[in-house]
Amino acid sequence: MGSWPRLIETMFWPIINVLMLGFASLYLVRTFTTATVIASVFIAGSLLNEIMTRTGMGMMVMFLEEIWSRNLGHLFTSPLGIADYIIGTLGFSFMKSIVSIGPAVALAMVLFHFSLFGLGAPVIAYAVLLIMNGWWYGLLVISLLLRFGLAAEWMAWMSLWLVVPLVAPYYPVAILPGWMQIISWSLPATYVFESMKSLIGHNELHGDYLLKAFALNIAYFIGASFVFYRAYQGARRRGGLLQVGE
C-alpha cells in the first residue's frame, strides 16, 4: 500500500470494470427507454462486487508476498501469533478494499451520474456483508496456498473469480440454471446482490436477505477458520512454513 505503482494497480481494475459496465449502461439507457434500472444494477453491482473480490484478493496477495519474499519463517518465529497474523490480514484487506474502490465510486458519479451512496444506508450494510464474504473466502484461498504452496497460485487467482457468476451481481439468481441456483443461494453475497437489485428495481430492501447473508457469513467464517487452522497445522507437520515457496 505504501508504493505508488501498487496503489495505482489496486485502483486500476475497479476503474476499468466500472468504465466498461458504465458505458454499456449508457448505451442501454440511450437505446431502450426502460433500461435505467438495468444500468444502475450494472454499475452498483460492479462496484459492490469489487468490494468483495478486492477484500479476498487483498488477503491472498498479502500472503503471497510473504511466500514470494520467503519471509514466512521469520514471521512465524517472531512473537506474532497465527491469530494476530489473521487479524492483521483482515484489517489490511479491509483498508485495501476501501482504497481501491474509492476512485471507481467517484468516477461513476462524474461520468455516469450514479452515486452508490444514493442507495442510502443499506449500502453500508452491503459493503460490510461483502467484506465479510471476502474475508472468509480469502481465508480459504490462503489455506489452499498453505497446503499446496506456489504450485497452487494459479488456482488461488482463479478461485477468486469463481464465485462471481454464482452470486449474480448483474442479473437475478432466477436466470441461473436450477443446480446453479442451489449453489448461489448458499452464498452470502447472493443475498446482498438480490437485496441491491430489489432496492434499485422495486425500492424494497429485503432485510431478511441481509440477515441471512450475515448468518451465512458467520457460519462460513467459522468454517473457513477451522479449514485455515488445519492447513496451518498441516504446514507445520510437513515443514511447509519453510518450504511453501518452493
Binding site: 519471509n71 514466512l72 521469520h74 518465529t77 515443514g239
Partner: protein, 247 residues
C-alpha cells in the same frame, strides 16, 4: 527463567516424514551462553532439527524446552527472547531495510526502536543501506540486514542456519567476529548449523555431529580432532561422512 543453565533441551525428539525417519530420538542439551554447532552431511537431519527448534516444524514425538519452557506449549513466551537468521529465509524485498527492521522491531516489542536500529546499523555497517529496498541489496548486504533483524531483540538464544553462506571470505570473517562480539557482550547462546568447518572450529565451544537422523558424536572441536586423530575438523567431517570411525 534467565537463570536456567540449559538453553535448549530435547528429549526423544523424533520426526518422521511419511516413511522417512529424518530425526531419530535425539536427546540433547545446550548450555546457556555457549556456541554450539550442528554438523552433518546433507540429509543428516540438521535442517529438520533446526526447524523443530524454531517451532516451524512439529515433531512427530518428543519434547523441546527452551530455557525451561516447553516450545510446543509455550511458544509465545519463548519467541520474544529468541531469534534466527538463515540465507534460505528472507525479508520482504519491496520494503527498505529500515522498514523491515521497524516491522520486526514492533513484532518483538522493542523499546526505543529508532535508537536500536541506529545502533545495530552502525554495528553491522548498514547505516547507508537503511533506506534502500531489501531486494536491491547484494547477498552480503542482505545477510547483514537479516542479521540486524535477528539481533534486534538482543536474543538470549540465536539460531543460525549457515550464517556465512554466500559471503566472500572477508565478509564472512567480519560476520563471525561480529557474532562473537555480540555473544561476548550479551552472553547469548548461539546454536548454528554450518558446513564451514573453519567457522565451526573458530566459533564453537561444542559440536554435535548428526548422521542418519541420530547424534553420533559430540564434543569441543579440538577434542573431536584429537579423538579422530586428524589435523582439522574438515578431516573429521570427512571421516564421519565416509564411515571411517574414530580409532
Amino acid at each position: 527463567m534467565m537463570e536456567n543453565k540449559i538453553a535448549i533441551e530435547t528429549r526423544s525428539l523424533r520426526k518422521v516424514f511419511d516413511n522417512l525417519v529424518a530425526v531419530d530420538d535425539i536427546d540433547l542439551q545446550v548450555k546457556s551462553g555457549t556456541v554450539t554447532a550442528l554438523l552433518g552431511a546433507n540429509g543428516a537431519g540438521k535442517t529438520t532439527t533446526m526447524a523443530m527448534l524454531l517451532g516451524l516444524l512439529q515433531p512427530t514425538s518428543g519434547v523441546i524446552t527452551i530455557f525451561g519452557y516447553d516450545l510446543l506449549k509455550e511458544r509465545a513466551r519463548i519467541a520474544p527472547f529468541t531469534n534466527f537468521s538463515s540465507p534460505y529465509v528472507d525479508l520482504p524485498n519491496r520494503l527498505t531495510v529500515r522498514q523491515n527492521l521497524i516491522v520486526y522491531g514492533h513484532l518483538y516489542g522493542i523499546d526505543d526502536l529508532g535508537e536500536r536500529i541506529t545502533e545495530l546499523a552502525a554495528q553491522l555497517q548498514i547505516t547507508d543501506l537503511l533506506d534502500r529496498r531489501h531486494g536491491s541489496l547484494s547477498a552480503g548486504q542482505r545477510t547483514r540486514a537479516t542479521l540486524a533483524k535477528s539481533l534486534l531483540n538482543a536474543p538470549r538464544l540465536l539460531l543460525l542456519d549457515e550464517p556465512t553462506a554466500s559471503l566472500d571470505p572477508d565478509t564472512a570473517d567480519w560476520v563471525r567476529t561480529l557474532l562473537m562480539d555480540c555473544r561476548a557482550k550479551s552472553g547469548a547462546t548461539i546454536f548454528m548449523a554450518s558446513h564451514n568447518m573453519l567457522e565451526v572450529e573458530r566459533m564453537c565451544d561444542d559440536v554435535i555431529v548428526m548422521k542418519g537422523g541420530k547424534i553420533i558424536d559430540r564434543g569441543a572441536p579440538q577434542k573431536l580432532i584429537q579423538t579422530y586423530g586428524r589435523d582439522n575438523l574438515e578431516e573429521v567431517f570427512l571421516d564421519i561422512a565416509r564411515n571411517r570411525h574414530a580409532p
